[in-house]
Amino acid sequence: MLNRVDNGTMTADNPPGGDAYRLAVSHSARVKRLKVLLPVIAFVISLAFAGVSVVRAYLPENLQIASAKIENGKVVMEKPAIAGRNGDGISYSMRAERALQDIKNPNIIALETITAAVPLNEKTIARVEALSGVFDRSSDLLDMDKPFTIKLSTGIEASFQSAHLDIKGGKMESTEPVAIKAQEASIVAQSLKITDKGRIITFEGAVRVNIEPSAIRKTGN
């Protein structure tokens, strides 16, 4: 009917009333439907938008995830990956198989099968591989409660029972026995603290250091 009006002609063969009437009825029906549909659609869109922003708010900005679903009060993320830059602008990254985040306390994320690259300082990156850990998003602290290993980019390998990692600060502390293996030396101790971005390493408790003869030969005569 609208078109009809546009071309401004009322053809004779179209009896006024009958056709127009039917069109009017369908139009008003459409309007009636839209009257209900439109708000519903608007509502759904806003709901979706809110949902996304809520999920977004829970997840750190620099987090990529393969997929996320909500299971019994926890956001379960598959293959989460976090990356960022620490104070010195050196990039750090962390990936896990799965991450579980409690809706009530979104900052704490439990991680499974973690691999992290933690910059200790400009020259040394520590690669962490662990079964599980709890990551506090607000302070970038990684709490490893199960045994794990750290391989320094310099060829040194350290194995731990547990530890607290300050990823951004480049600090680490373990209050349980540690074993460090380098090409020509090995160190075993009851506890370890790495501070000042890896520049100070402190072992405490029954420290045993073993230096291979090849290390001395280099310095020998």
């Binding site: 100070i200 390493i201 405490e204 003869p213 310095t219």
Partner: protein, 154 residues
């Protein structure tokens, strides 16, 4: 006035591993030092060194320890040093191993060098690590030597 003797056990053999034990170890990359503190005991073959603290000064650019190619330059031992090697023993207040010059020096009010029953007391013991040749100085005072008669008959 110094007495000479040979601490042949003292040679730093570079074909045997060194074990170091201590209560704590602090590696400071900035100052290139590794400080062993508390009941420090260093063992290599038949040579044993014990002291309260031991500071290893190493060379190596950048993060030498964390990349494992630390080159030991000097080792300072302080807080009651006891050194034993084969039949010879020495005690002093402090000591320094200079890896470059291969000389190590023990110093203190009473540096006691003993071999079997023979006891030499002075204030400074200097040992050439590669030859084991040891020189005990009395720094002015008299070197007290107590020789065991039995050892004379040998």
């Amino acid at each position: 006035q110094a007495t000479k003797s040979n601490l042949n056990g003292l040679k730093l053999s570079n074909d045997q591993p060194i074990q170091i034990e201590s209560d704590a170890l602090e590696i400071r990359e900035q100052d290139k030092t590794a400080l062993f503190s508390g009941n420090v005991k260093v063992v290599q073959g038949t040579t044993t060194l014990q002291s309260g603290n031991m500071t290893v000064h190493y060379r190596g650019e950048g993060t030498s320890v964390t990349n494992g190619n630390a080159d030991i330059e000097k080792i300072d031992v302080t807080d009651k040093v006891f050194l034993s090697s084969g039949t010879q023993q020495a005690t002093a207040d402090k000591g320094t191993f200079n890896l470059d010059s291969q000389i190590f020096v023990l110093e203190g009010d009473r540096v006691v060098l003993s071999e079997g029953q023979n006891v030499f007391v002075g204030c400074k013991l200097t040992v050439q690590m590669n030859s084991g040749e040891a020189k005990l100085d009395s720094c002015g005072g008299r070197v007290q030597i107590q020789l065991d008669p039995k050892s004379q008959k040998k």
